[in-house]
Symmetry: none
Subunit: 194 residues, 4 copies
DNA sequence: CATGAATGAGGATTCATTCAT
DNA sequence: TATGAATGAATCCTCATTCAT
C-alpha cells in the first residue's frame, strides 16, 4: 500500500514536472533529464512509468484534459435549461482557464503540436460529450444556431484559450468585466437571434 | 545585382524550407541541416543570412505574418463603412487561412510556442493596425461593442485558426456555407444588437 | 527438498533462457532483464544464483560444454580399437551438433568472444580427455599422425562447427551423405596413410 | 586533394580503431565513443563516414575480408596445376592468418555474430571464387574429392582459424613444422587417395 | 529466498554551430 | 560569398546491478 502510494506520487511528480517545464520552455527544450531532475527521480525511472517521451507527453495531455473536462461539467446537470446550462459550463471553463492556468497553458501548447498523437486527441475530446449534447438540445429547441459543433466550439470555447494566452503574455489583463463581456460575445455568436 | 538577386533567392529558399519542414514535422524535428538540405544550401550558409536557429524561425514568422496582413487588407480602404469594411477584411482573412494554408498552418504552430519571442510577436501584430482602426470607428459609431480589441480579435479572427487546423486534421470540411455561417457568428459576437 | 528442487529448476530456467536469447539475438542484445523475464523470475533473483552477467554466461558455457562432452562419449569405451572408437566419438559429436543445434549454436557463439574467460574455457575442455587419450593411443599404435592435439582437433572436430553454422545460416543442407563424407575427410586428415 | 586524402585517412583510422577494439574487447564492449577516441575524432564524426554502428562494423568486415582474399590469391594464377595451386593458396592463407593476425582475429570474431548481416557476408565471400574454381578443376581431374565446397572449406581453410585463435589464446605455439603438418592434414582430407 | 522498484553510468545518435578553405 | 567537414554538448534511452521489503 505504501509502495503503491509512493508509485502514484512519483507518477504525479513526473506529470507535474512535465507540465511545468513544457509551460516554461516548450516541448522542444524539455528534456527527459530535466523532467527527471525536477521530479527528483533518476532519468531511468521515468521509463518505469512511461514507455518513452511521446508516451509521457501524451499521458500528461490526457490527464490534464481530464482535469479540464471534470472541472467544466462539475456543476452542470443535463436537466438544466439550454441557456442556463451553457452559461454554467462556459463560466466553469473560463474559470478553469484563468485559475488553473498552469493546466490551461499546457493544453494550449498541445493544440498545434505533432507531439500529441491523434489517438490521445480523440481520447481527450471524448469527455466533451455533455457539451455536445447540450448543443444538440439547443439546436432542437431553436435556441442555438443549427451549425456544426466545430463552429460552435470555435466561437465560444476556443476564444478563451487565446485570451488566456494573451493574458499570460502580459498583453492585457482579464478581469471579471472582461469575462462577462466575453460570455456575451460567445453567446451572441451562437444563439438564434430573437 | 545578379549577386543580390541570388542572395534574396537563397534567403527565400531558406524561409520556404523552414515553413515546409515545420509544417510537416514541427519545430522539434526541424533541424538546421534539413532546412539547408531542402534549400539546397550548406548548413554554414544559413548563418550568413540568420544569426542562429531562433533568428531564422522568428524572421520566418515575421515574413509570414507580413504576407498574412498584406493579404488581409489588400481590398480594404479606410473609407469603407464599418460593417462592409469588416466583412471584407474578415473574408480576406478567411480566404487566406483556407487557401494559403501553408502559411496559415505555420502561423498556427507559432501561436503558443516559446520559440517565437515577444519582440517578433509585436512586430507581427503591428500590421494589424487598419483592423484596429476600423474597430475604433465601429465603436465610436455604436456599431461595434465597446470592448477590448483582444476580445474582438478572440471572437472574430482567432476562431478561423481553430477551424483551419481542424480541417487540416481532417476532422471536418469547411465549405462555403460554413464560411458564411462563421462570418455570421463572428459578426454577431461583436456587433451591437439592433 | 522441494525448495532445493525449485532452486535447481530456477537455475535451469535461467540457463535455458540465456541460451535461447543469445542464440537468437547474440550476446550484445541479451540483457539481464530479458533473461529474467524469459525465465519468469525477477532480475534481482538472477544474482542469487550467479555473481553477475559474466558469471551467468560463463556458467552457461560450462554447462552446455558438459552436455556436449557427455553426449560425445556416451557410447564410447576405452577398450574400443582406435579407429572404431574415433568413428564412434566423431559421429556422436556430429549428431550433437546437428540434432542439439540449440546447444551447438550457443557454443559456436562462444568460440571467439572475450565474453568467455580462459578459466571457463579450460574447465570446458577438461572433459575432452577421453578423446585426447584415444588420440594418444592412436599415435602410439602408429595409426594416427604424431601431431599436436590442437591440429587433430582443428581437422576433425572443429570443421563440424563450421558446417553446422553454415547450415543454420541456410547456406547449404547437411544430409547423411554429407556427414559420411565429412567423416571420411576428418579421418583422412589425421590417419597415418597405409 | 589534401582534403580528400585527410578524409581517407580518417576513414582508415576509424576502421583500424574498430578492428583493434573489437579484437581486444569484443563487439559488446566496443562503443562508438571508444572508437572515436582511439581514432582521435569526435563521436559525431563517425557518422560522416558511416551511417551507424552496424554499418561501420559491416564495412570494416568487408574491408578486412578484402585484404584477406587479396593476400590469398596474390601469388596464384589460374594456369597452375591443381595441387600446386592449392598449396600456394593454402600457404598464403596460413601466412595471412599468422602474420596479419590483427585482421585474422577480427574475421574470426565476425564468424558467428549477428552483428554482420547476410549481405555483407555474401559480399565478403564473393572474392573466394578463384579457390572455388580451382576446386572445380581438381574435381574434374579426379584429384580432389567430389564433395561440397562447404566441406572442402571446412576441412582445409577453416581449421586455420581455430589454430590461429588457439595460438592467440596462448594455448600453443604454431611454428613452421606445425604449419607444414597442418597443410598435409588439409590436403589429405580432400585429395582423392592414390 | 525472492522481488519490484530504483538508479548511475554509459549506450548510440543528432544537433546547432564553427572554421579552414 | 559559400561551403563541407568537424565537433562538443546534449538527446533519448537501456543496462547491469542493488536494496528495502
Amino acid at each position: 500500500m505504501a509502495a503503491l502510494q509512493k508509485s502514484i506520487e512519483k507518477r504525479n511528480a513526473l506529470i507535474a514536472a512535465t507540465i511545468e517545464l513544457v509551460n516554461n520552455n516548450g516541448f522542444h527544450a524539455t528534456s527527459m533529464s530535466k523532467i527527471a531532475h525536477m521530479a527528483q527521480v533518476s532519468p531511468a525511472t521515468i521509463y518505469l512509468y512511461f514507455a518513452n517521451k511521446q508516451d509521457l507527453v501524451n499521458k500528461t495531455y490526457i490527464e490534464v484534459k481530464g482535469k479540464y473536462t471534470d472541472y467544466a461539467f462539475e456543476t452542470y446537470t443535463e436537466k438544466m435549461p439550454v441557456a442556463a446550462g451553457f452559461e454554467i459550463i462556459w463560466k466553469r471553463i473560463a474559470d478553469f482557464k484563468l485559475k488553473e492556468c498552469k493546466y490551461a497553458m499546457f493544453l494550449a501548447q498541445c493544440d498545434n503540436t505533432p507531439m500529441i498523437d491523434e489517438t490521445s486527441r480523440q481520447e481527450g475530446i471524448k469527455h466533451l460529450q455533455p457539451l455536445l449534447d447540450l448543443w444538440a438540445r439547443g439546436k432542437d429547441a431553436g435556441i442555438i444556431k443549427p451549425i456544426s459543433d466545430y463552429l460552435l466550439y470555435a466561437y465560444t470555447i476556443n476564444p478563451l484559450s487565446f485570451l488566456m494566452m494573451s493574458e499570460k503574455r502580459g498583453a492585457f489583463k482579464l478581469d471579471a468585466t472582461h469575462v462577462e463581456e466575453a460570455y456575451q460575445a460567445a453567446w451572441s455568436s451562437i444563439k438564434v437571434p430573437a
